[in-house]
Structure formats: structure tokens, C-alpha cells
């Protein structure tokens, strides 16, 4: 990257399924104010504001046009991105490009979603090419259901392993005051007894629909050190697309299709001389809409060998106190305000590096972290974050 970029302000709202007390712009404003407070900056300091949101999910077209005042964007450059599930990753990448290029020194990136205003699955279904829509009429849930079945049939991983991932996520969420679902799950039996949504995917195997927003302030190297005593460096980013429908299946185990995660992580690992992820990176915040997808992502992101991800959860390696914690925040399966979700991944990874995650702070020292976004036709946005350059 051209110029170095750091995160100097982090703000998020609490997350819940319904926020009647705020309009969409007012909810986003909460995250904006919280990020400004974290950075101890005034809105006047911010040069440019970028937003990310899945507008069809909330029935308002061009929502960014109705909130310039609330997000402090009045009279400033900036625009909204929408790339499906990766939206939040794209908006962070967008801010990163802007600062890295030298165009701005201080930008704010915001992801938001107020899902009590629409029907997400209906919107995803409506996003499908109409003549093939019948095949996709289960929204994202059906895709993850098929992938769960493939996972079981090809790896030796079982429903119990997926349930262990769910319980791990809940443990993190219960310690995270910003998380949406904090269920206090006692055992995997509670997961295994939850009703089916789309067989074999159960209610507790899938993420909720959350309302919330997350804002980050990104700064150039010369500003970052003056603004925050603990800047977190966004040292690398990779954005990978693929063909939408033809990808067909999330995590096609034939290896016939390109996994965007493979492309993204291999490039990032190579550029940063990472040969053993679990040794050289301290933790990860990944985008796992389903517990099954988390197991798949362990393999796709090379946290383990192919077909062995269930062993990581069985041995407790990815637990909060484990050797390589994954999603100590509770992850996407606990909190999913879609446009904000990947911004939260980056924010949570940064909080862990700063040591400011609070009750869900990982006990071991976190110097390096991975954050990912996944969405739409299995696109990937991936970040590498570090405490020092």
C-alpha cells in the first residue's frame, strides 16, 4: 500500500432486533458520536465520510441521502457502497484506499442496518436473477443449509461440532455488551434441540437480524500518532469477487470453483510472509453467518488443513482462551446488522489489539489479527491488522 493507515476511532451501537426509539439516521448517529468520542475528535476534523448499507433491506432508497446531517457528512466528499454481505468490508477498504492514496488524512467509514424496517430474506431473494429465482428462493439460509450438509458428508464433522461453535460464540457474546443474542447457552443440546429453518440448518445455527451501526475513523500515519496513543494499523487488504450464480454452492468441496477466501488469504499471507497462520497471527474476527460456515472458513482461510476444522473446535483451539481465538466478540451468529457486520469484525479485531475489548478481551497479548467479510456470491474482503508497523 502507498501510505500507512491506522484506525484511530471505534464506535458501535448496541445491537438488538428492534429499535423503535430511533430512526435509521439517528441510530447511525450514535455510532458516529461514539467513534468521535473514542478518537477525541470533532466532526469538523473529519475530511470525508463513507457509508455502507444494504438499502433494499429497509425499504428506503438512497438512505445516505437522508442522513448527511446525522453522520456529519454535510458539504463533505464521500459516497455509499453496497456489495452485499461484504458491504462493511468494502466501506472499510474504501476508506483505507482513500487515506492510503494520500487523498485524505482523516476519514470516517460507517456501516449500518436497521433490519426491523424490512425483510432481509425477501430482499436477498429479490436480488436473484429473476428467471433463476426459484432455485434461490430460500435466500442466504438455503445456501448455508446445503453447505452444512456438504460439510458433514465430506469432512467427518458432525452436528455436535457445529453446536460447539455456536456455544463458543454465545460465550463470547455474553461477555460483549454490544452483542445482540446473548443466550447463555449451557450445552450443545440446546443448539441441537432448536427447530429447523431450512433442513439441516437450525434456528440457532444461523445469525439473527440485528439493528445497529459501527463507525471507524481512519487516519494517515502522520495524523494517527497524534490522535490516538494506541493506533491500530490496517497493514493489508484484499478484495476478491467471483461470478454470482455460477459459484452455485458456498464452499463447493469439489474444488471446482474458486474460493475467494483462498485467493484473498493466500495473497495476504504471501505479501506479509505468513507461512503458519496460527503461529504468526494471534486471533481472527471472521464473517460466519452460520456456525457451519465458521468451520468451513477455518479451512478456507488456512487456519487448518482441509477437512480438519472440526478438530480445532473439538480441541478448544479457537475458544476465547484457546491458542488461536476466533470471534471472541460472539461473531456474526450472535450479531448481524448486515452493512455494519464486517465493520464490527475490523473494529473488534482492533479493540483486541488495543486491549480495549473489555470482558471479552482475549487473555493472551494480541499483536496481529485477521478480519474478514463474506457475502453475496461468496465474495471476500480480508484485512490484516497490527499493533506496530
Amino acid at each position: 500500500m502507498a501510505n500507512r493507515v491506522a484506525i484511530v476511532g471505534i464506535g458501535q451501537t448496541y445491537h438488538t432486533s428492534k429499535r423503535d426509539d430511533v430512526s435509521q439516521p439517528e441510530m447511525v448517529a450514535e455510532a458516529v458520536r461514539s467513534a468521535l468520542a473514542d478518537a477525541q475528535l470533532s466532526i469538523k476534523d473529519i475530511e470525508s465520510v463513507f457509508t455502507g448499507n444494504m438499502e433494499t433491506f429497509e425499504g428506503i432508497f438512497l438512505p445516505d441521502h437522508g442522513m448527511a446531517a446525522e453522520i456529519g457528512a454535510l458539504g463533505k466528499p464521500g459516497f455509499k457502497v453496497n456489495t452485499g454481505g461484504t458491504t462493511g468490508g468494502s466501506v472499510v477498504a474504501e476508506g483505507l484506499y482513500m487515506v492510503s492514496s494520500g487523498l485524505y488524512d482523516l476519514v470516517m467509514v460507517i456501516g449500518f442496518e436497521k433490519q426491523d424496517c424490512g425483510d432481509t430474506t425477501a430482499a436477498i431473494t429479490a436480488a436473484a436473477v429473476p428467471v433463476w429465482a426459484k432455485g434461490a428462493a430460500t435466500g442466504a439460509i438455503g445456501e448455508f443449509a446445503k453447505q452444512a450438509l456438504s460439510y458433514m458428508e465430506t469432512t467427518g464433522g458432525t452436528e455436535e461440532h457445529a453446536a460447539m461453535v455456536r456455544v463458543k460464540a454465545d460465550k463470547g457474546a455474553c461477555r460483549n455488551p454490544y452483542a445482540h443474542l446473548r443466550l447463555g447457552l449451557k450445552s450443545i443440546d440446546e443448539v441441537l434441540q432448536s427447530p429447523y429453518l431450512v433442513w439441516p440448518l437450525r434456528l440457532l445455527d444461523f445469525c439473527p437480524q440485528s439493528c445497529g451501526a459501527c463507525a471507524l475513523i481512519l487516519a494517515s500515519e502522520k495524523k494517527a500518532k497524534k490522535i490516538h496513543k494506541k493506533p491500530v494499523w490496517l497493514v493489508d487488504v484484499e478484495v476478491v469477487h467471483q461470478e454470482p450464480f455460477r459459484a452455485g454452492v458456498f464452499g463447493d468441496p469439489t474444488g471446482k470453483e474458486t474460493y475467494t477466501q483462498h485467493v484473498a488469504c493466500e495473497k495476504i499471507y504471501k505479501r506479509n510472509s505468513i507461512t503458519d497462520v496460527r503461529k504468526q497471527v494471534d486471533m481472527a474476527e471472521i464473517y460466519e453467518p452460520s456456525n457451519w460456515e465458521e468451520l468451513n472458513l477455518y479451512e478456507h482461510l488456512h487456519f487448518c488443513k482441509k477437512g480438519e476444522s472440526w478438530k480445532l473446535i473439538e480441541k478448544g483451539i479457537t475458544e476465547i482462551e484457546g491458542e488461536f481465538p476466533v470471534n471472541p466478540s460472539g461473531g456474526v451468529i450472535s450479531t448481524n446488522p448486515i452493512g455494519a457486520t464486517p465493520v464490527i469484525r475490523v473494529a473488534e479485531a482492533a479493540l483486541q489489539i488495543r486491549g480495549d475489548a473489555g470482558e471479552h478481551q482475549v487473555t493472551r497479548d494480541i499483536k496481529t489479527a485477521i478480519a474478514t467479510a463474506l457475502g453475496g456470491p461468496n465474495w471476500t474482503v480480508m484485512f490484516l491488522l497490527k499493533r506496530s508497523l
Binding site: T121, A122, W132, I141, L149, P195, V198, W199, V249
Partner: protein, 165 residues
Amino acid sequence: MAKESAKKKAEGPEYIRIKYNAHRPYDWSTGKYLGKVYAEAKENKKLVGNRCPQCKDIWLPPTPVCPKCKIDMGWDWVELPQTGTLYQYTYLVYPLWDPHYGEKWANPFPSAVILLDNGVFYRHWLEETDKEKLKAGMRLEAVWKEDYDERGQGVQDILYFRTIE
């Protein structure tokens, strides 16, 4: 726009929510590539894909440019086999909102990814609704709408895939 005012008076203050259904009609053109799939389905009950002149991969939905080689696909059409094996499947338990029909909807037919006998992946519905009888690798064949006038809906001209053997 159907509009209704929803009032919520729980313990706390009252908050106003306005409910409405955004109903948007649209016309969507298949273009000539997908148009070829529609024509073959309607006229000949055939499933076709197009083949890349370079990597020879077959694409369904068809594509004007090979996503892998990034070159013009030309006009090389291949009839696909109507038999294959079950690769992945699932079915709806919880009724979801179907935006195309404007109602809650739970299709009884399992949704499947089928590996056609020439190695092309294809998604469709299965006739078999008994979960116990479904197994990855089972043999399937396409069942078409027999009435010529009912066809003309593209891949939906295939009713479902039926278990064989």
C-alpha cells in the same frame, strides 16, 4: 402503496411505525444467450449450455464471456444430459417471505444442486419430498411440463427431478 399506521403502546413511550409494502413491477429481458435456453426448453424440452472455445467449460446459465478465460464465448451450444446425481440438497421448514409472489411460502419440494452426467452443476427441485429417501449421490432425471403451451418459462419448464433406479 398500502399504508397503515402501527402504534405500539407497551410500558415505555409510544413510538410510531409506518408499515408499507413496496410493490415494484419490472420487466427483465433474458438477452439472446438465456433466450436460447428458453427456446430450447420450450420447443425441444432440451437443457442447453454454452461452451468456451478455449477452456471448453460449459456454462449454465449461459454467458457471453467466459468468466475464467475472459474471452468471447461465441455461439457454441451443447445439449446437457437430463440425468445426474444428487450433490447437495435442502428443504424449507420455516415459511419465508417470497418477494416474487408477495406471500409467506414454504415449497414442499427439496431444493437441490445436481451434478449432471457431463459434470455441469445445475440447481432444481426434487420430486421426492421424504427426507429419509434423499441421499447424496442418488440418480435423478428431469421431468418436463408436457403441455407445449405451458412451457416457455425457461428452466421452470422442468417441473422437478425424479429419482431413478
